[in-house]
Amino acid sequence: MADPTTNRPLHPARPTLSRFRRMRPITGKSGQFGFAFWLPLGWLLLITFCAIFAPWIGIQDPDSLDFINLQSEPNDAHLLGTDHLGRDVLARVIYGARVSLVVGFCAPVVGMLLGLPIGMIAGYFGGRIDGLIVGSIDTFLAVPGLVLLLLFSLIFGGSLLVVTVSLGLLFIPIFARISRAATLSFNSSEFVLAARTIGAGDFNILVRELLPNVVLPVLAFGLVAVASAIVVEGALSFLGLSVPAPHPSWGGMIAGGREHLEESPHISIFPAIVMFLTVLSFNLVGDTLRSRFADVREAAI
């Protein structure tokens, strides 16, 4: 029986690779970013603008109650109506965007800052260290994410910081995996070997040679991670475990409006639509950028 170890492509860079694979066109998407990119990007900019400048763009106080106008339908005074405490839904949606965006951006950053070095170290050094890290990641992954979030938020209380950090922790395995895979794929490449032959140390190779290459696929995943961070935050606040009252958050608003789904669907539906559009936009923008800048397979995720 033939030995598989000898069955490798022999002179791999000689025309072994068919052009048909090497020159895969960026499946149809032409060189320009289409409106499937600009439209969502516009939405994101709008949301971000509103969230940042919420106190100054003339929207109402999101917390003040109005016992007269409970659950009023959208009207001139309240463009998106009021909720069951008579609060302006539009104002709450906009202030809720602050939570979603902060968590959405910061959690992946936390995950990346921790996951990237972990993954790179595992991929670079291999052996015991790799085994240990992969094992820890496995352990971490074996505990359902929502359970961890629940436990964290119960232990440390619900606050923006806790939610962001604990969600960020959940992203560690994902980022670690991506950067580990990327590191592995570059690790055996000849430019790393070349760096070794000139006597570069491990740290130098990790930071100077590997990092610039690893960071791109990792960043490319970043925007998609933002989308999922927003979704998970939504789920958390749906369970009432995210930011404390009275701060509005989309998931919390959806959960709060559930009881009034039949008489006043607008209480849930508007935040749901805004959240949907925002998540969709991040997904679309993220995907466009990812397919443009890196070829990471979803399988790694």
């Binding site: 016992f67 409970l70 405490l85």
Partner: protein
């Protein structure tokens, strides 16, 4: 509904949607019986007495007669002789004595003990006679013997001894416990040998655990289940409007309250508490949170009780005046649960206090932590409740008496202690009530407890279901139900 008994039809299955799973049915092990477990238990067990809501009188059930001694410090009760437990053993005075002795034994740490500490002992005089000895004249005894909670329900002492009562309860009731699929459903079946012939009609009652109110309500409307109860204002309003549904209502005693911790500055100043009482708009929260499906509470003695408790009504001007008198800015915090209702309560309270110039910070915690914080005096303001009871006196006593470990608002005053003691040992209902009312007036004046609404219970069922009633504590009596078809 009572009138339609003649048309009662036997057979069929009654499906009941309940909000929470039971924890267990053992009076000692299971802790509090929630409404779910209470409802199941009430169908599986019998009480000694029964309270008639219409006549306001106690009626015989497992007991045939009851007489007090001259000094009112003991009661002798005669029991039925024809009653058998579901396992076939005969019901005797020993079962009753064992049950109460077990609750009273401090080693068992029953949480129900605190309600009946006035009982010093229970003895079986013969097979069917039992005597309750009391420390002092104690009016609430009969109410406790009729309580549809674990205190009043008599289990098989053999089953208790075998340590199976918690998960497979055995009683003398019209229904026999059949199966408990954790998290999903509890099934009980008709007791063919029930001592009161014709009391039970449907063959089987299934309690389905459906935690989501919306879902439970939708299932009721689609006819998937026959009966639900809820305390959600929106659903109650919808149900009352729905011609295909029948509403069963009963007012209860007790109340949903707010503790103002009198041991934490600046809440140790009565003026601050009083200002908060005037800033508190109970009408508004009843409207917003409960959609006016609960009664306005001035005290926890129940809507039927005529007691002028000197309630401090919503009056922001007065509140501001009191604060001005106090003179310092008030910044306080409050713990609340992470449930939508808990958040909402916090959000409303925050806004109401803001109107009179008090800054309130909200700290979300889960239910369990909230309880712990309140017990360990690690809070300033927290929601709480005075549980329903035929007589809430024992609770108001414990909440107000200075040496009670249950004085959770930590307000200690000799006058209140005096009123509490007088209430506790009163030998006749009128005196007891007078002292009770006095006590509640003092509480209202101090502002250490504020009301968020009284208790009113609702159950709903389709028009083809009959003979459902709500007992004390909101426990639903399903054992007499029958269905058309």
């Amino acid at each position: 509904h009572a009138g339609s008994h003649s048309a009662a039809r036997d057979g069929g299955t009654l499906t009941v949607g309940v909000e929470t799973d039971a924890r267990g049915f053992d009076a000692v092990k299971g802790g509090v019986l929630g409404v779910s477990a209470g409802t199941v238990s009430l169908a599986v067990h019998d009480t000694l007495l029964k309270y008639n809501e219409n006549t306001k009188q106690f009626e015989p059930n497992l007991a045939t007669s009851w007489v007090a001694a001259e000094d009112n410090k003991s009661w002798t009760i005669k029991l039925r002789t024809d009653v058998k437990f579901h396992d076939g053993t005969a019901f005797t005075a020993k079962d009753v004595a064992d049950h109460f002795s077990r609750i009273l034994d401090p080693a068992n740490k029953s949480r129900s003990r605190s309600f009946i500490t006035a009982i010093t002992g229970v003895e079986a005089l013969d097979d069917h006679t039992v005597r309750f000895n009391l420390a002092h004249p104690w009016l609430p005894l009969l109410g406790n013997l009729a309580a549809p909670s674990m205190i009043g329900l008599i289990p098989s002492s053999a089953n208790v001894a075998a340590d199976k009562q918690n998960r497979e309860p055995i009683g003398t009731g019209p229904y026999v416990f059949k199966n408990w699929a954790g998290g999903d459903r509890i099934t009980i079946t008709k007791n063919p040998n029930y001592w009161k012939k014709g009391a039970a009609h449907v063959d089987e009652i299934v309690f389905r655990i459906l935690p989501d109110t919306q879902a439970r309500f939708a299932s009721l409307r689609s006819g998937e289940i026959d009966l639900i109860w809820t305390d959600r204002g929106g659903s109650i309003q919808d149900a009352q409007k729905d011609p295909k549904l029948v509403t069963v209502v009963r007012d209860g005693k007790g109340a949903v309250i707010t503790f103002i911790n009198a041991s934490k500055p600046p809440l140790d100043d009565a003026r601050v508490r009083q200002a908060m009482a005037h800033a508190w708009n109970q009408t508004a929260i009843l409207k917003v949170t409960w959609k006016d499906t609960r009664p306005f509470a001035e005290h926890p003695l129940g809507t039927e009780s005529t007691c002028d408790a000197g309630y401090r009504h919503y009056d922001p001007a007065k509140a501001k005046a009191l604060l001005a008198d106090y003179g310092k800015p008030v910044k306080i915090n409050m713990i609340h649960t992470t449930t939508p209702r808990g958040r909402e309560f916090g959000e409303i309270y925050q806004q109401l206090l803001k109107q009179v110039g008090i800054e309130l910070e909200l700290i979300p915690v889960d239910q369990n932590t909230l309880v712990k914080k309140v017990f360990t005096n690690d809070y300033m303001i927290s929601g709480w409740r005075i549980a329903d009871a035929d007589d809430v006196g024992p609770q108001t006593f414990a909440l107000s008496y200075s040496k009670s470990s249950y004085n959770l608002s930590r307000l200690k005053s000799p006058e209140m202690d005096k009123a509490a003691f007088a209430m506790r040992t009163a030998a006749d209902p009128a005196t007891r009530k007078k002292y009770h009312c006095d006590l509640m007036r003092m509480v209202n004046d101090q502002g250490n407890m504020q009301y968020r609404g009284g208790n009113r219970y609702y159950a709903f069922h389709g028009t083809n279901t009959h003979n459902i009633s709500i007992d004390g504590l909101g426990v639903v009596r399903v054992s007499g139900a029958w269905k058309d078809q």
